[in-house]
């Protein structure tokens, strides 16, 4: 919905700068400007082939995992593999009846949602600050944020557990989400800051001229444009929390997340359990991505068309 306004306020100086950079190379362009039809067709097929291959590249491994998780143990250890499994749901059923799975699933979702909220509420403003202002200490801040992600999490869980026990937020989902948020926050800051950077400051300035204050301009002009990217970093926060094992294993006892509860011992379990567990680990994240895919990309679609 903002695409029209973005065109309207697009400053002419920008487009002229872009075209200036092209001017020097424009002499060699003439011969390539018009391509023959057949070439076009070839390109289109190449394009389709490329897209299909990449789609298969993502989907086939997951399909094979699914295949394995509905196979019998004999088929999994058998040779050669067939693409037609016996459709045995025994292994998946085992997980379903595993004591405590449901509450662990709830804990995982809760921790992931908390993480998402904390990361975005704290991260997006900082991302905006980094994108729009030049201020002393900015590089130091950026460095601290990046540094935090450069340090292996499993080591930090131990001192954190000690404090959590002292403070009394040990074994709580909120406490765990806070730790997960420290993992997700750097991503939120970096992703949102590059997003805000990509939104021309002139758009905001135009809004100020029209009488908006800083907040209104942000909310009405910048936010709609940045929403897809913000959603992207929120999803990322969700996924980080969903998949995190070590902090969850150390910081929770009764309120385990699914990964800590189940998945931790997956690599020691027999093959069929391993594969079915892998699927159980994958499916909720798939569903979540699927549920929010509209937010993730539709806004982008509008602003681009």
């Amino acid at each position: 919905m903002k695409s029209s306004s973005s065109e309207a306020v697009m400053p002419s100086s920008l487009s002229s700068r872009a075209s200036a950079s092209l001017a020097d190379s424009s002499s060699q362009l003439a011969q390539t400007a018009h391509k023959p039809r057949r070439n076009d067709m070839a390109w289109r097929w190449l394009f389709r082939a490329g897209v299909s291959i990449l789609v298969l590249w993502v989907l086939v491994p997951i399909a094979l995992l699914m295949l394995n998780s509905v196979s019998t143990p004999e088929q999994i250890t058998g040779w050669p593999k067939t693409l037609t499994p016996a459709l045995s749901f025994e292994t998946l059923d085992f997980f379903w009846h595993y004591q405590g799975v449901i509450s662990a699933l709830g804990n995982s979702l809760l921790a992931a949602v908390f993480t998402m909220v904390i990361a975005i509420v704290l991260g997006a403003p900082a991302g905006y600050a980094l994108a729009r202002f030049v201020f002393p200490g900015m590089n130091a801040y950026r460095m601290i944020i990046i540094l935090s992600r450069a340090f292996p999490m499993p080591l930090l869980a131990l001192p954190l557990a000690v404090i959590f026990i002292q403070v009394g937020i040990d074994d709580s989902i909120l406490g765990l989400a806070m730790v997960h948020a420290t993992l997700a926050l750097p991503f939120a800051v970096l992703i949102t800051s590059s997003l805000f950077m990509g939104i021309p400051v002139e758009l905001e300035e135009a809004a100020w001229l029209m009488g908006c204050n800083r907040w209104q301009a942000f909310r009405r002009v910048v936010l709609p444009l940045a929403a897809p990217g913000i959603t992207a970093s929120a999803v990322f926060a969700f996924v980080i929390s969903w998949n995190e094992v070590f902090a969850s294993a150390i910081l929770t006892v009764e309120n385990r997340t699914l990964t800590a509860f189940l998945v931790q011992s997956l690599s020691e379990s027999p093959a069929e359990i391993k594969y079915a567990g892998g699927l159980i680990l994958v499916v909720p994240a798939l569903l979540f991505l699927f549920a929010i895919r509209k937010y993730l990309f539709s806004m982008w679609g509008i602003s681009n068309r």
Partner: protein, 422 residues
Amino acid sequence: MRKMPTALALLALLGTTSALADITFFSTQARPLEEAQQMREIALAPYAEAINYMPQETGTFLSRLEAEKTSPDGALDLLGGLHGELGSLTPSILTPLNDLQGSLADTGISKQYMTLGKLGGDQQRYIPWMQATYIMAANRKALPYLPEGADLNALSYDELLAWGRNMQEATGSPKLGFPAGRKGLIHRFLEGYLYPSFTHSVVREFRSDDAVAMWQKFREIWAVTNPRSTAYGFMQEPLLNGEVWVAFDHTARLKDAFNKQPDQYVAFPAPAGPSGRGYMPVVAGLAVPANATNPDASRRLIRYLMTPEAQIRTLRATNFFPVVEAELPDDLPASIRMSGKAVAAQSSADDAVLSLLPSGLGQQSGLFNKIYRDAFVQIVLRDADIEETLDILAPRLQTLINTSGAGCWLPDPPSDGPCPVK
């Protein structure tokens, strides 16, 4: 977006339902998911109180306990772990259980095991809970290739080598297997089987000439071993899919193969070397954290777990054998009958060399295992010079033993002070 608060409330509800006042049983044993489930359904289900059985990897198990030690109210009520794992905790984390010694005296627990439970001090830090050991397993397909005159129940390492060679020549692929992966227990093979069998020692003779000869022999054996061995954690898997025909592993890590295809596999004792047939029993123990909120409930659960009935149930669930005297019923799963026989043959062999779990190493236990694994990786996998490697590792071994102050343990003769590496 308006749905968000409702969703959050729902989730919050979900998140809080699980916190019950159960007895939290934190354990490094019965970790594979199916085993954990059996532990709950078979071994713990008859107990009157609700138990939250939580299997845990060693690393996070120890970290959690170390983090919790300053807290007055611990979240954990009962701990189950291997001797080495419990021993590597700060001793004050485990409350003394001397009061249980009396009631357990006539159950038939070996004195040696009770002493191990003191972790080198005067207090009973853990109660021996269950035991297991390592044995060999073979696919029946491998038996025709046994070298002539070899007796499966009195195999030597030379014969194992010849066997492996025969199988490789006949099938074109190496059919021996060792659990040398990240999750595998190859270090126990080195500490409890190979070293004692060749040097009648595990620490003192670490870099002796006998040890050099041992490594040479193991290199030869490795040449006819499936190279995928460095990825194996539980040997039951490569046995079941036929990658490997003859394997060494922990009884609990072979049980799937025995149970799923009892007629396809045989269990037998580990081979013998020039110094005898080294073997190592493994003991897991039960302990109570000093800050457990209801230590009486914890003790009650220990008493239950030490009854013959519960010990048999635990055996069914985990393939770990009772430490108390218990009459084994006839309807035990194939894995238990098969491995039971092999274990008995192993420990009662004329040339048996008993090798105990490292004791008194405390926080250095992990490093101790690393020394042996490092030696294996350098010498066997990376083809480094044997003597050079042992000369690099021996001082490190000595340093960690000195740091912990551990005296020698069997099969090394006792020492005054820290066990010396020659």
